[in-house]
Amino acid sequence: MTNAKSIQRCNDFVIKFANVNGSGSSSANELFARAVMRMGVPVAPRNIFPSNIQGLPTWYEVRVSEAGWLGARGGCDMMVAMNPQTWDRDVASIDPGGYLFYDSTKLLPPSKFRDDITVVGVPLTAICNNEYTDARQRQLFKNVMYIGALIALLDMDFTVVETLITDRYRGKDQLIQANINALRLGYDYARTNLPCPIGLTIAPADGVGDRIFIDGNSACGLGAVYGGATVAGWYPITPSTSVIESFSSYCRKYRTDPDNGRARYAIVQAEDELASIGMVIGAGWNGARAFTATSGPGISLMQEFFGLAYFAEIPAVIVDIQRGSPSTGMPTKTQQSDLLSCAYASHGDTRHVLLFPEDPYECFTFSALAFDLAERLQTPVFVLSDLDIGMNERLCAPFDWNDERRYDRGKLMTHDELEAGKDFGRYLDVDGDGIPYRTIPGTHPTRGAFFTRGTTRNPYAKYSESGADYVYNMERLRRKFDSAKTLVPAPVLQSASQPTRYGAIHFGSTAPAMAEASALLEADGIHVDTLRVRGFPFCDEILQFIADHEQVFVVEQNESGQLRSMLINEGEIDPKRLIRVLHYDGSPITARFIAGRIADALSDRKISPLRKVAL
């Protein structure tokens, strides 16, 4: 039944699981991905799920790549079709020569299949039904069972999965046995009834190294713990909710006072996003490190408060897990489309500090760093992650922390300095960096108290309606923003194998696809230097990179080229030199897409952007 031109690949293919939302398949699928990783083969899984709790279709796409490409690839070499609702499109979506795995309990007419793919059937339901009586069990173990079958079909190491199961349910021996049995049932059936392995196989390798496997939101939550956050005000919204769930579970683990079991943190689920950010600002004003996590709609609701924190100069950290927008948009799809609404948040002239993590490692690092920056700069700092990074497990460098490191509380005027009579002007620029000193409420009985407000005031925080005071303040805020350029993470340069006139700028979750795209292009003899922007305001290296290249592609996952607009405005760049490469349909960007667009642009020289696609 395997046919001639069927795909033959080892450690380099995409397998997709089609399931029903809420059917408990995700943990089984995740088990599969981990198994691949444990065998030393880099793996990149992605959930594709609806904005719904139960009953709608979901997919779990696993990219296996010994070469280490972790971006979405596109296409599908093998489909595990467990959802009747989506059978037709699932079958249609298999690459020619690919494989279809299905539950062969019910007979399906040939019309339901394709003759250019290999069909692998296992009577999962039948097996389950005579193994288990309880309906929920039948459902759950069916999932484990197809994993078992896949182990055989892909020639994987059974013991690896066994160990995973044992680790996961440590202590619950019954559960362990039950799962392993189900696994075994599927494995044995395949071994005895199907030609194993098929053309797609997974062989032990050592492509993983010491990397860890975790989702970005968990990493953000952990980063907030390490960054010293003690207060979180939040409101649930997909895809950011798990940031707080992670923060609270890590806090329970690391921040529970050993002596009395009390909490060294406070997490409050607010009534909405206005209250969440209000709490963060109140806590920041009062000297605690505070943050919130949200997504697009929350960013819109917080605008007024962002302006207050900016103008009154209060530290705050906002983790924005971007999703398909505008409005409610595509709440369970990914996008990088909140840059403008964060960078220039709130009415009037404002500029905000942004950080762009590329993966869970940077989600951890930048989330921790954000608190230092927020206190150093006394302003809101935004960590702009997205659903692709945030809600998918990703292989990344292990987290590290330097125990010598101390939190940078920024310019805090102390009780003793005040006592010694040091001049305190809350909004006074004492050393030219635009950053004034602040005091924490309660610092000194008679000195250092001031009145915080969103209105104009003089350098000594006294209410003022004088244009001169206003301009002094705005110019200082501008200097302060310039000071931030050297504090945000520097960009990461990836030079082509040989000097080139072409460059590409990207950021965040585009990184893995960009890296792979560069390789694809190199293979075609197209050389492109790439620069990954990691922070805003933009430091000089970024502008230099643009100056050094004749044409620079700006690769983004939004419709209007938001980073490009910011580069043009902040860097005074001629738009003609920056070419948009935009992917924004809600799916993660792929190397194929990027390479294709760049190649096209360079080939047919249609490189000057068209008016109609202006920002």
Partner: protein
């Protein structure tokens, strides 16, 4: 007016409290409100209350929203940190501040527009969350700072200065506070310092959400006949259910009173509230009864004032969250950062 320098001279014999502070030490910048504005009397009452309680000014954080009322924190407690936040959002900002440092005294000042219109949601949720604060609404039934539009506390049928009749139902913040879990609920009148000062003192010493609705006439936009928030109207319809006296632990042992006439409530921090019953026989520990009384009298056009409800056994937000005694904003790196070892262990679990 901030434009006039403030006279600094101080009578040598000005009374000083236990901390050696004079009343002047509890004052703030000179008010820029209209002459006769009720809000200024409330500021004066806050000053008096803090002076009487020997509060250390820098241990008070005063927060407000936007409005004439919300400007007042600039006009008292000049040695306290203040935060004039955004319109209607003081409760969340104060909640965050309270989370950061449980050891300060939190005084939230707001207006009826700030709290009952744009801010009603945050008001409600701060109450139900049990934030340990004194929440004062300077209630004049209008938006003073924007020149006299009705606010949500304006009574149905009351007349605006321009002659418009209000047709919407009023929001009674006291009734809401009672319903939503405030554990110290009072109403007073800016024109009656004798009643107001002790109510503020009791609130400042209360553990948990203490709410005081102070009717505070807007002389410029809502002090005409036809208004139910004018000085005259409130004086005529004020029905005080009790008088409060706050006794601090360090005060001399009190003399005995005729039984029944007096009620004694010991607060969480040891301070004692003496409630002298007035007109009606009123039980300030009966929440549902309080709501009932309030509504019935309101239906009769009366304004019930006094300490309407107090529950000294209530738990506050920090108790709910089981946070450590030490203020979160004072925990050092060592208490907050798990360090590299923990991280290595965690990495291991993630492979």
């Amino acid at each position: 007016m901030t434009y006039l320098a403030k006279p600094k001279l101080l009578a040598a014999d000005a009374p000083r409290n236990a901390l050696g502070y004079t009343r002047r030490d509890y004052e703030g910048a000179i008010s820029t409100l209209c002459a006769g504005c009720g809000h200024d009397s409330i500021s004066a009452s806050v000053v008096q209350a803090c002076f009487d309680l020997d509060v250390e000014p820098h241990k008070v954080a005063k927060l407000s929203g936007i409005g004439c009322s919300s400007k007042t924190p600039d006009y008292f407690l000049g040695n306290s940190h203040g935060f004039n936040s955004v319109h209607g959002r003081m409760p969340s900002v104060l909640t965050g501040a309270a989370l950061a440092n449980r050891n300060l005294i939190y005084l939230g000042v707001s207006g009826d527009g700030d709290s009952a219109s744009i801010g009603i949601g945050q008001f409600a949720h701060a109450m139900r969350r049990g934030v340990n604060m004194t929440y004062i609404v300077e209630n004049n039934g209008v938006y003073g700072l924007t020149k006299g539009q009705f606010s949500a506390t304006a009574d149905k049928g009351s007349k605006s200065k321009k002659g418009v009749i209000n047709s919407d139902n009023p929001i009674d913040l006291v009734a809401l506070a009672l319903q939503l879990g405030a554990t110290y609920v009072a109403r007073s009148f800016s024109g009656d310092k004798e009643q107001l000062v002790p109510l503020i003192k009791g609130a400042l010493r209360h553990n948990g959400p203490a709410f005081i609705d102070v009717i505070s006439p807007c002389v410029t936009f809502n002090n005409h006949s036809g208004s139910t928030k004018s000085y005259d109207y409130v004086r005529e319809h004020n029905e005080a259910v009790n008088r409060v006296e706050v006794i601090l632990p360090r005060d001399p042992i009190e003399t005995s009173y005729p039984a029944g006439s007096l009620r004694r409530i010991v607060q969480h921090d040891g301070s004692i509230l003496h409630l002298r019953k007035l007109a009606v026989d009123y039980d300030p520990s009966d929440r549902i009864g309080a709501m009932n009384h309030l509504q019935e009298r309101h239906a009769l056009g009366e304004i019930v004032t006094g300490l309407l409800y107090v529950d000294s056994s209530g738990q506050d937000m920090h108790a709910h969250l089981n946070t450590v005694e030490k203020p979160l904003n004072q925990l050092g790196d060592a208490y907050l950062c798990p360090g590299s070892k923990a991280l290595d262990a965690l990495n291991a679990l993630l492979r």
